[in-house]
């Protein structure tokens, strides 16, 4: 007999393998390797979380109890994958274009980003999924126990509860480790998906292995097996038509609506075309999974004692026959099915709970603004982690309280009926523009109530929630309200009965209320975008804002997405708009894009609320209302074209105005140029002339005086020379006549050189560096680069007005470029000056702190020659400059 210890070791080893696979996949994805991570096969395999432990073990039990009916559980998804392929594609397209994070987010987003709806869907999903998680824990526990019973040495040592507890704990740790690496739910969880794909292979292989063993090892071939099936009671089951159709439809509905299926199918989807492969590959997988169910059931009935649990035949048959290795494999298969379901369900639910319940509450408690309150990103991640632990713990609690047993085994289908309530709102939202929030909410509430009343509560048997007399005679004896025979529909199977009534009334209420009520404008816009997702990729303008808000938006986005990502997004948008620098104009397009990106992190409703706090409450403009009011297609099109034109003209006018402002400012500067250059040249010349005359005309100067005056003359001559050098340098750089001296070296060396040339770090002016993060090799004109750094450091030394000036220098690598930020803690540069500082002779304020105002202009020219850039970095506390330089010089690369 296989010892329990051996099993535990195999189990731990398997978990180690899973962790390493997940870790390796995350690493590979992080480094951009592993295109295979994004293959359609991995996608298909990840869909197999549909087959939980309940199907792995339970299908055989199902077959023993009710014959071929177990096929319905596989038939529903198969029909969906093949027949409703188009619908799935629409869901995936909507999910990607709107950056949907969960099924709750999809429904909330479609119905005007309503958080009420999201909260309701989330709660229903949690209620429906918790027992299902408990079921997985039970299956692992039971299978462990089977081994324990067979292990004579340590029969008494393992308690059910402790196994369930350790399994739950391990799963929570795994999910938190790999499921919350990145905040953005739209960034794929490569590690998790890869681990699940591996588990999918393991469970299929295990079941096939047991099947092959049963057919060829125990029965002696296909013919023999068929004979045994004929002889077994399985053959005699009557298939009830209504139950067959009902269960097929139910599993089809659940396949679309289960939060965990939505997670792998839509959220984790890499590429829409993967659905094409999955459309045939997933049904094939399901068929392979169901191939040996009946043989195992028939042979199990024949060979095993009549009291044994048919749900565990897959495990007990090999054990009985002394095939320990096979039994362990089978155990791993069941273990895989259970764990993968719990992991994905926990990720899906935690996203929903944290985005729709925890974050809104937190935002509300912290005064409702993302601007003032700390790092939203950490809060969201923490919320998600706590939610994962909470959800898995809830499953464990349910398992303990319900005590396992038969009641739990029936919960699979009950859960299915619960989540099937999302179907009308989901499908209506995708296909019917008339569907609205009130209707969706009313339908969901109706469906959920009927589900609770007619299926969920009675499933616990005689409890205070639903006493036996109510089940038998209806509340207060009202006969037609009997939970399992509503409106006198007797004789139906309870599952089919509840499914039929709940979904029917849900749909009815949804349709009627939607027809009777009016949607809000946001709902109309979202509705159009969802229903017509293939026609247009969403351009309904819902935002308008001014430039001053861009910086606020950037600050907020940095908090949520992290500084690097936010800055990349903003500068990318600015580049697209043809604006230099980091801050794009807050056009409706940009705001919508930003909202979508943010919603990937915190959910649609929250992202919408955050942006509207900054851009102003007007979430829907007058133009939008007019566009909505008249829905005739041509007028819509015409008005949107007009709108686009007006918008374009406004933008052009804005750009012209900006250009004009800049020109005016420049011409004022050009005028100032002459007087500046005159001043800069004449001042040292004055000293030189005055002292040389003194030395010429004055008799009896002491030696000290002579020395002093001649060194003043010398210093001033040097100053003049330096100024002329700068001017020449700039003119050479501007005319691109400069010869660059390409060298290789590390960034650290260049910075070291620059810091010491600029006077080093001392208590009066501290330079804060992280030398261990500066070990970047680069090939460039290092002297020129050092010149730029020296300029920035001396500028900070000269102009930083903090009491204890600190200059922070931070370097990082982004693709083939290095990004070096110089950020001081002074009061920074006002926004209207930020574009001018790189112009010649521009000094902020009328100070005479030294230079001629050529430093930054030279820096800009140098960086342009080095194929890099220097920009002002807004949104920091002090003055901040960002230098970007290629790691390898393009010209050298071209030559090589």
């Amino acid at each position: 007999m296989a010892s329990l210890n051996a099993l535990a070791i195999v189990c731990v080893l398997y978990v180690v393998v899973l962790f390493s696979v997940a870790f390796a996949a995350d690493r590979a994805a992080l480094h951009g390797r592993g295109a295979w991570l994004r293959s359609p096969i991995v996608y298909t395999l990840s869909l197999s979380i549909y087959c939980t432990a309940w199907t792995f073990y339970g299908a055989v039990g199902f077959a023993v109890r009710s014959g071929l009916e177990y096929v319905t559980i596989y038939l529903g998804p198969t029909l969906i994958m093949i027949g409703w392929w188009w619908t799935l594609r629409k869901m995936v397209r909507v999910g990607r274009s709107q950056r949907i994070t969960s099924i709750a987010d999809l429904i909330s987003s479609r119905y005007g980003k309503s958080n009420t709806l999201a909260v309701f869907v989330t709660l229903l999903a949690v209620i429906g999924t918790t027992p299902y998680i408990a079921l997985q824990l039970q299956s692992v526990t039971l299978s462990f126990q089977i081994f324990a019973e067979n292990d004579l040495l340590q029969r008494q040592t393992v308690s059910q509860q402790s196994i369930a507890f350790w399994v739950a704990g391990g799963l929570a740790v795994f999910t938190i480790l790999f499921g919350t690496r990145n905040l953005d739910a739209n960034e794929r969880h490569h590690g998790v998906v890869m681990a699940i794909a591996l588990e999918a292979v393991v469970k299929l292989f295990a079941l096939l292995a047991v099947g092959v063993f049963v057919v060829w090892g125990l029965s002696g071939g296909i013919g023999e097996t068929l004979a045994r099936i004929d002889a077994s009671p399985i053959k005699n089951f009557e298939v009830s038509g209504s139950r067959w159709v009902g269960l097929t439809m139910l599993s089809a509905a659940a396949f679309i609506c289960l939060p965990r299926m939505f997670q792998v199918m839509v959220v984790e989807n890499e590429d829409e075309s993967h659905l094409r492969t999955a459309a045939w590959a997933f049904p094939a997988y399901l068929m392979a999974m169901s191939l040996f169910v009946v043989p195992i059931a028939a042979v199990g009935l024949e060979k095993l004692p009549s009291a044994s649990n048919p749900d565990l035949f897959v495990l007990t048959l090999p054990l009985q026959e002394g095939q320990d290795g096979l039994a362990i494999l089978s155990f791993l298969g069941g273990f895989s099915s259970a764990t993968s379901m719990v992991i994905v369900a926990a990720i899906a639910l935690s996203t929903m709970v944290s985005n729709h319940i925890v974050m809104p509450i937190w935002l509300w408690m912290s005064g409702g603004t993302a601007m003032v309150s700390g790092d939203v990103r950490n809060v969201a991640l923490l919320a998600r982690r706590i939610s994962i632990a909470g959800i898995v713990f809830l499953g464990y609690l349910y398992f303990r309280v319900s005590g396992g047993g038969a009641a739990l085994a029936a919960i699979g289908l009950i859960s299915f009926v619960g989540v099937a309530q999302f179907l009308p709102a989901l499908m209506g939202g995708l296909f019917w523009r008339g569907a609205n929030r009130v209707g969706a909410l009313a339908g969901l509430v109706t469906g959920a109530a009927i589900w609770l009343y007619s299926l969920f509560l009675p499933s616990f048997g005689d409890t205070f929630l639903m006493p036996q007399h109510v089940i038998e005679h209806g509340p207060l004896g009202i006969d037609w309200l009997r939970p399992q025979a509503l409106f006198g529909t007797e004789g139906l199977d309870p599952i089919v009965h509840a499914f039929m009534w709940s979904v029917f009334l849900n749909t009815l209420v949804f349709l009627v209320v939607s027809l009777l009520s009016f949607p809000r404008p946001v709902e109309r816009l979202q509705g159009a975008q969802f229903v017509n997702v293939f026609q247009h990729s969403g351009t309904a303008g819902t935002w308008s804002g001014g430039l001053a808000q861009s910086e606020d938006l950037l600050i907020m986005s940095q908090r949520i997405m992290g500084p690097a990502e936010a800055q990349a997004l903003f500068s990318e948008a600015a580049k697209r708009q043809g604006i230099a620098g980091l801050l794009p104009e807050p056009t409706p397009d940009f705001l919508q894009e930003l909202e979508r990106v943010l919603s990937g992190s915190v959910g649609a409703a929250t992202a919408h609320a955050m942006i509207s706090q900054i851009v102003g409450g007007a979430t829907v403009s007058v133009e939008d209302l007019m566009a909505v009011a008249d829905e005739t297609a041509q007028i819509m099109e015409y008005s949107s074209r007009l709108e686009a034109k007006t918008e374009e003209q406004a933008r052009t006018a804005r750009q012209l105005r900006e250009a004009n402002d800049k020109l005016t400012q420049l011409s004022v500067q050009k005028d100032a140029f002459l007087s500046q250059i005159s001043h800069e040249l004449r001042t040292p010349m004055t000293s030189i002339r005055a002292f040389s005359e003194i030395m010429r005309d004055t008799e009896g100067l002491t030696e000290d005086e002579q020395n002093k005056y001649s060194s003043i003359i010398h210093d001033e001559a040097v100053r003049l020379t330096r100024l002329l050098d700068d001017l020449l340098d700039l003119s050479v750089l501007e005319n691109a006549q400069v010869l660059l001296n390409w060298q290789s070296g590390t960034l650290e060396e260049v910075l070291d050189r620059a810091v010491s040339a600029a006077g080093g770090s001392d208590p009066d002016f501290q330079i804060d560096r992280l030398p261990q993060r500066e070990h970047f090799e680069l090939r460039s004109d290092l002297d020129r680069l050092a010149q730029v750094f020296i300029n920035l450091i001396s500028n900070a030394r000269k102009y930083c007005d903090a009491k204890d000036p600190v200059l922070k220098i931070r370097a990082k690598r982004s693709d083939d470029r290095l990004i070096i930020d110089f950020i001081d803690n002074g009061s920074g540069i006002p926004m209207d000056k930020q574009t001018l500082i790189f112009e010649k002779f521009s000094r902020i304020g009328e100070t005479k702190a030294g230079g001629a105002g050529l430093g930054l202009a030279i820096c800009r020219e140098v960086m342009a020659r080095l194929s890099g850039a220097i920009t002002y970095l807004p949104g920091q506390k002090g003055a901040a400059f960002r230098v970007t330089v290629p790691i390898d010089s393009p010209s050298v690369k071209a030559a090589g």
Binding site: R682, S687, I688, I694
Partner: protein, 124 residues
């Protein structure tokens, strides 16, 4: 008793040169090197003549001159303005606000000395 000159200028080397020339000629020289509180210095020093640079940190020499002219106690103090910008615009501006003499840097030492002597003599 020596006549007193107040030199308002921010370049240390120019201060040193002008002070040297004037002191050799027997003047008592007081200096001040920013625009913010230049008026306080003018009031406190009660100089016989003020030499005033145009570009000062904090406040322009033209503004300081306007204040001197509008102060009844100092109103007619002779003022010699110095500038390094040397544009006609500046000269006009200096005349408008009431400078007695206007010199462009770099100047010859002798010219400065002559101008200071002449202005004080005129005033008396």
């Amino acid at each position: 008793m020596n006549k007193k000159v107040l030199l308002i200028e921010d370049e240390p080397n120019i201060i040193e040169a002008v002070s040297f020339i004037l002191m050799r000629d027997g003047w008592e020289v007081k200096t001040h090197s920013n625009g913010h509180d230049a008026m306080d210095a003018v009031r406190r020093r009660e100089a016989d003549i003020v030499i005033l640079d145009v570009m000062l940190p904090g406040r322009s020499g033209f503004d300081i001159l306007k204040d001197i002219r509008s102060d009844p106690a100092l109103g007619d103090t002779p003022v010699l303005m110095l500038t390094a910008r040397g544009q006609d615009k500046d000269r006009e501006m200096a005349e408008r606000v009431g400078a007695n003499r206007f010199m462009t840097k770099p100047f010859s030492n002798a010219d400065v000395l002559d101008a200071v002597r002449a202005l004080v003599a005129e005033h008396e």
